[in-house]
Symmetry: C2
Subunit: 145 residues, 2 copies
């Protein structure tokens, strides 16, 4: 059993524990998301998944993403040119590093941010509740090309 398959089984189980059902459409959509190392638009997920399951509808992709996001399994990714892409969420709080060439997404820890946030909070008087930190660049593979 591959790592993706194991994770897919976990996700399906979490869906079921929340009163949702296991269906062929959801299995396929979850597999596509777990196999891909970059953020995908709903339409992209639909096109890839439909090759494996004829008759799948785009609406089902939207509705499945909605449920996966509510369970925290998937997260919406914001980029300069698009805010409608979805990516498998990391375990715990991590930050995104995205390759502007191939789209590959990786997560990293940003514990070092705490002192800066405290400084800003003290200076501004804000009570900070959330932060966004994302890096964009060219990954090692794409630099070689």
């Amino acid at each position: 059993m591959t790592a993706e398959n194991k994770k897919a089984a976990e996700w399906i189980k979490l869906l079921q524990n929340s009163g949702y059902r296991q269906t062929e459409a959801r299995n396929t959509i979850v597999e596509v998301i777990l196999e891909t190392n970059r953020a995908l638009e709903p339409l992209e997920i639909f096109e890839i998944a439909r090759k494996r399951q004829a008759g799948l509808g785009l609406v089902t992709v939207y509705r499945t993403l909605e449920r996966l996001e509510a369970l925290g399994l998937v997260q919406r990714v914001h980029q300069p040119g698009a805010c409608n892409m979805y990516l498998q969420a990391p375990q715990g709080h991590q930050h995104l590093l995205i390759c502007t060439s191939c789209g590959k997404a990786e997560f990293f820890n940003g514990d070092d941010l705490t002192p800066l946030m405290e400084t800003v909070a003290a200076r501004s008087g804000y009570q900070i509740t959330e932060h966004w930190f994302q890096l964009f660049g060219c990954c090692a593979d794409c630099q070689r090309k």
Copy 2:
């Protein structure tokens, strides 16, 4: 002459230097943006501006924002719930601090980020070209309420 008026005159001049024209619609739209301390959607700008200039069209707001953004005078703001808001751009590279209660937006410097970005670049092999850092919280005024 207030600070807003002075800045409005500068913006109009920059538009003119780029081959664009000064019009009543643009004057009004620029004023609205400069008077407001939070990011606004095109529709909000339109509604506020239209009270001052009857007959203004929403399309003109979109087209003016496009030009202002191209000149770097205005920037699009991404938030968890909306990615279509615009805010007067800061001078130089700064980061956003947004009040989740009233929407007020402030900028701050984040020079402290450089070492973290270098660490991530070294570990990941990425050549980092851009970064997004934004804080959300409750401003001092809203905490009192």
